[in-house]
Symmetry: C2
Subunit: 302 residues, 2 copies
Amino acid sequence: MKPGVRLGIDLGGTAVKLALVNEKGRVLELRRVDTSKKPRALVALLKEAVRPWRSRRLLGTGVGVAGDVDPARGVVRFAPNLKWTNVPLRALFRAARFPGPLHFENDATAAAWGAYHAELKGRSRNLVVMTLGTGVGGGVVLEGRVYRGATGSAGELGHMVIDPAGPRCGCGNRGCLETFLGGIHMAAWARNELRRSGRHVPEELSPGLLYQMARRGDALALRMWRRAGRALGVALSNLINIFNPDTVLLCGGVAGASPLLLRYARPELMRSRFVTARGAAKIRVSTDNQHLGVVGAALLVE
Amino acid sequence: MKPGVRLGIDLGGTAVKLALVNEKGRVLELRRVDTSKKPRALVALLKEAVRPWRSRRLLGTGVGVAGDVDPARGVVRFAPNLKWTNVPLRALFRAARFPGPLHFENDATAAAWGAYHAELKGRSRNLVVMTLGTGVGGGVVLEGRVYRGATGSAGELGHMVIDPAGPRCGCGNRGCLETFLGGIHMAAWARNELRRSGRHVPEELSPGLLYQMARRGDALALRMWRRAGRALGVALSNLINIFNPDTVLLCGGVAGASPLLLRYARPELMRSRFVTARGAAKIRVSTDNQHLGVVGAALLVE
């Protein structure tokens, strides 16, 4: 990676992170901006946000977007949380004179690249990254390179079907991994179960709170994590059989509950007699969780 | 691919195919040998089988083996149908003076490479090949290159779990794709259902016979193909979300039932709103089905 500073932008559903990132993946400066709904207004806002950095010599700008991105054309085909369809982001960034070259990517794929470089220091050849948050995302680095597939849409690991009779997913399918492991789905499940058992339902039922409850021995919360952990185990088993990775990295907020998740996931993993692939795959939990998306976006600039 | 003739060997559970293959993937000559159980005796038998070709100038030998192969060391770690464990195949082939260089690979991965070159003529960048036979195998070609993973074990697509409450699989897991779509599992399911409904159970209940029965409108056979087709649909949906391939190729004997299988698979595929990846993936049925394994093995010699 060429030495120097790059601008990284992580464009999520509710907030945008902007950072100056060095070639080792260190965040030198960081800013946050609320997501505005209209693309043009948002790009203007981002331009304003990077004004303090305008005297810096930057090697380019990398942008990760929570949605279906066409990296070749720099177009956001669809970003449900931003309510964007076919937004020509490269043209907008170019018109706003962001430092080029410009690179656009799905945010989870960018995060995978960030993890590969900044956290694993390139000590992996075949890496699967699962981003556990409100939803479940994924990105893959194969043979040391970002794998994008035919249209930049590869690595939608959260929408692997774990149980065809499972809950309805936002994607239209049933029983996707996300319906068991996504923060929003876990909260909905727990809310429903609490109500059914006549218990008080906390206003904000975050994965963090549910993890605390489980650690205090709450049976309902433990049941929820067991359900999520088993689904994770099935997903891990599938991904290991498919990719034969050397590393699977769990990141995102919900990865904080990994001790519990992995306790329930492991028995699912151990069922299979495909010992070579299982033995080769280290399952790691990200310790450098916070800025992988924005770091990865920056490091996608060559 | 360098012009010239290579020796390909497809080492399956019950038979070995040997072929001279040109750089376009055309089979010039073909021989078959029964699989003998002991590796050393088998290699001697193979050496005998290629004697008529000993005057040919060959660019090397590629071997596909039905099992877990270490391509780097040329060792067959485990081949359940051959009852082999840790067989140093490269050393045996070298001692028997097979024309080098020697290349060893999992048979389904070899078949994927054969399909990529000989059938698709390289007109694909990201290809997923599913081999539908007694079991369900797979191989992937990503960015125009064979993808092997960390230990050469990648692409075990038949052991993707489709339903965690599904039937017990030979691999130790439950509800693998293979338990719905593998010929041996389909026959077992049909035999059981025929018995339950008091019907005659044919001695040999092959997928071919079950396909004929379904085409004649037999309700039980149709139910079986619907079950298999739905599982295939879930698998295809997962693989498209994971790999975002331009092509998925179905090959192997059971792929002959693709018209029926895909009729039941498509509704599963259409559930998801991830339209970009789905739109990019052509699902094709191999028309050049017979020798992909032996051709691919040969073409793995550079």
